[in-house]
């Protein structure tokens, strides 16, 4: 088990704009993000947020959905209409079943329901902050000596073919698309299976343990790491 700090070399530091009207939450967010080494700008109103987002360059925006005067949805729609494609993560406490769809349709890249675990926020920011620089069309993925052929749907490690079930393949593909970055349980559920609810069974753990049995066990070193209280991370074995 590795702590987050050990993987700092893999982590990219980002310039983040946080737009959140609740002072306590804003403080919690900026302190947490800065502890991780990110640089933050913090504003409490949608209009200030829009002004900053238009005038400065950020790697990612964290925007509360409910803001006085100019709400988060409008802020993102305005940005997108001005052809500013900075990744946006919505925070909301509404918990509405349609909010996710509405937020994504407005142009947000991800969506997180308050209250949330900070590790979940970090993982998601890393995932979307990186997205803009990654080519979308890839035919193969490679992490260390682990290789995945996306066309033939085959996996091999150090040249040894690994036979995966389709669900295991999908989980591994998502991990490998985020090498060196924490992938939370919720992200796996949402992105791999489109489960937008919290399962009561250990469905994620079962798949991870099956993957480990095939990807790690037969080999000398482990690539799939469990990050305590956060999620999973795939990285080249040391």
């Amino acid at each position: 088990m590795q702590a987050l700090g050990q993987l700092a070399s893999e982590k990219q530091l980002m310039r983040i704009l946080v737009v959140e009207d609740d002072e306590k939450t804003l403080h919690y967010l900026t302190t947490g993000l800065e502890q991780e080494g990110h640089v933050t700008d913090a504003v409490q109103s949608g209009t200030d947020g829009l002004e900053l987002a238009l005038s400065r360059s950020y790697d990612v925006l964290v925007v509360d959905r409910m803001l006085p005067i100019l709400d988060g949805l409008t802020l993102v729609r305005t940005l997108r209409s001005k052809r500013i494609w900075t990744p946006v993560l919505f925070l909301t406490s509404v918990g509405g079943v349609d909010d996710r769809v509405e937020g994504l349709e407005a142009g947000a890249d991800d969506y997180l329901l308050k209250p949330f675990a900070f590790s979940e926020l970090l993982a998601r920011l890393n995932a979307i902050g990186r997205r803009s620089t990654t080519p979308i069309e890839q035919v193969s993925l490679k992490v260390g000596d682990l290789e995945m052929d996306l066309l033939r749907r085959t996996v091999s490690r150090a040249g040894v073919p690994i036979d995966l079930q389709p669900q295991e393949f999908r989980v591994l593909e998502y991990l490998m698309r985020n090498p060196g970055r924490v992938v939370t349980k919720t992200m796996l559920l949402e992105r791999v299976w489109e489960f937008h609810f919290d399962p009561r069974t250990n469905v994620v753990e079962v798949h991870i343990s099956r993957l480990r049995a095939k990807v790690d066990k037969p080999f000398a070193s482990e690539m799939i790491n469990t990050i305590r209280g956060a999620g999973y991370l795939i990285a080249a074995a040391h």
Partner: protein
């Protein structure tokens, strides 16, 4: 309100009054036209008769002479005696040669005028006359039109009475007509007032007449049933929430309290914080689930319905959960007919069946066979999730869909008691029917949707289903 005033204020009565007024107005219009036409006709008759009379007298004057004419006129005046016919033959030098009109009443052409019936009398006679210039004299022939006025008066009176009677009949009829509906509305008002006062079990009495008011009453009663159900479940839920959240909140408090009184090592403190966060997460999850159920029940989500492939949803779900089932030592049987489509919400349908599959996975002792099937049956799509576990006692079948309801034996296993409420809410949103049946042993949960797209009889074998399936009036 006194019944008379209530009746007068009733819609039926107002309608009757409006009709009576409308009828009266049309009667008046018809009368006015008739009256006008009759008057004109009578006047024309006077004109014709006076013209003919004048022509006859002129002919006489040319055949004989002025003296002969005067004689004839005088004869007519004395013969008639009546007040109806009037004549005047006035010589150019101002001498009355014959007639019963005053010399001042000489004129030429047509004229209408009034004169006293007798000299000095205040009673007036209305005359119409034609004056003609003869050689050396002026002749006026006139008739009293008082008879015509009298006829018109009679017509007027007749119509006035007729109109009055028809209005009165209309009002009386309207009043009588309004009696029935007013009585029914009084009953409805009585019931709604009782409900306002808190007697929620009151219902409007309905007859078998199936008229509009009866249908309205039935609808109102249905609405009241629904409101009563909602109130009941609201009451139930609020006390259940309070009760169910007490446990994690007191555990949380105990943990924090212990930590404050006896701070341990860093590792111990970390563990205590982790335990506290876990309890908080349980509380948040329960709230989120309750909120979600409430929102689903609100029905707004129906606006996002799209055509979804239920077969694909179930294939994805069963592929994911097969590993979990296998991991726990269960047999997982899947029979999914391809291409079963319906209008719905993909995410929610996924959650519905995930809940059912997870229920089976968590409540069933190992080893057991868990079966997931989907098939078309005519226009319907039938999906079942069956297990061979302890099942649910039949007397509890309708209770398990309540929020936070948990069977006694599952109190100790993890779960919020909201899974089946969520299932019921999502099914209801999709107009689907959820049934619990006995699998002997185990439980069969069947969900039946109205499908869309192709429908055909499938050769897929029907499974034997227990007879005592509890039909669930979801929603």
């Amino acid at each position: 309100m006194p019944p008379l005033i209530e009746n007068i204020r009733s819609t039926a009565f107002k309608l009757a009054v409006r009709y009576a007024l409308f009828f009266a107005l049309s009667t008046v219009a018809i009368f006015a036209i008739t009256y006008q036409a009759a008057g004109r006709h009578l006047l024309d008759m006077f004109h014709a008769s006076l013209s003919a009379d004048t022509r006859e007298l002129i002919a006489l004057s040319t055949r004989e002479d002025m003296a002969g004419l005067a004689e004839e006129i005088q004869e007519r005046v004395s013969q008639g005696g009546a007040n109806d016919d009037y004549y005047l033959l006035l010589s150019d030098d101002g001498q009355v040669l014959a007639g019963n009109l005053a010399p001042t009443e000489a004129f030429l052409g047509w004229r209408e005028w009034e004169r006293p019936i007798r000299p000095g009398s205040s009673e007036k006679d209305h005359l119409i006359g034609l004056g003609t210039k003869l050689p050396g004299a002026t002749m006026v022939a006139a008739q009293s039109v008082i008879a015509m006025s009298e006829t018109q008066q009679v017509i007027l009176n007749t119509f006035a009475w007729g109109t009055l009677i028809s209005i009165l009949l209309g009002l009386a009829g309207g009043y009588a007509q309004s009696q029935g509906p007013v009585q029914r509305l009084r009953e409805i008002a009585h019931t709604t007032r009782a409900i306002v006062e808190g007697r929620f079990d009151k219902r409007i009495p309905t007859g078998g007449s199936r008229d509009d008011l009866d249908r309205l009453s039935l609808d109102i009663n249905r609405m009241l049933d629904r409101i009563q159900d909602l109130m009941q479940s609201l009451k139930q839920v609020s006390s259940d929430i309070a009760h169910d959240l007490r446990t994690p909140i007191s555990r949380l408090r105990q943990g924090l309290d212990a930590l404050q009184r006896r701070p341990g090592t860093v590792v111990e403190t970390q563990a205590a914080i982790e335990a506290a966060l876990k309890e908080v997460d349980i509380i948040i999850d329960t709230f989120d689930a309750l909120l979600r159920i409430a929102q689903i029940e609100g029905g707004a989500r129906r606006a996002n319905f799209r055509r979804v492939d239920l077969s694909a949803i179930l294939e994805n779900l069963t592929a994911v959960y097969a590993s979990v089932a296998e991991d726990r030592g269960h047999l997982f049987e899947v029979e999914i007919e391809k291409g079963c489509q319906l209008r719905g919400d993909r995410d929610l349908l996924t959650q519905l069946f995930a809940n059912l599959i997870e229920n089976a996975l968590t409540h069933v002792p190992v080893p057991s066979t868990i079966t997931v099937k989907l098939r078309r049956a005519g226009k319907e799509l039938q999906c079942i999730v069956a297990d061979e576990g302890p099942g649910i006692p039949e007397q509890e079948h309708d209770k398990v869909f309540r929020r936070l309801y948990r069977l006694e034996r599952s109190r100790t296993t993890p779960g919020s008691g909201l899974g089946l409420s969520m299932v019921a809410a999502i099914a209801d949103l999709h107009g689907a029917m959820v049934r619990l049946e006995n699998n002997r042993p185990g439980l069969i949960v069947s969900v039946t949707f109205d499908g869309m797209g192709q429908t055909f009889d499938s050769s897929w074998p029907l499974m034997t289903i227990g007879r005592q399936g509890a039909q669930l009036p979801v929603g």
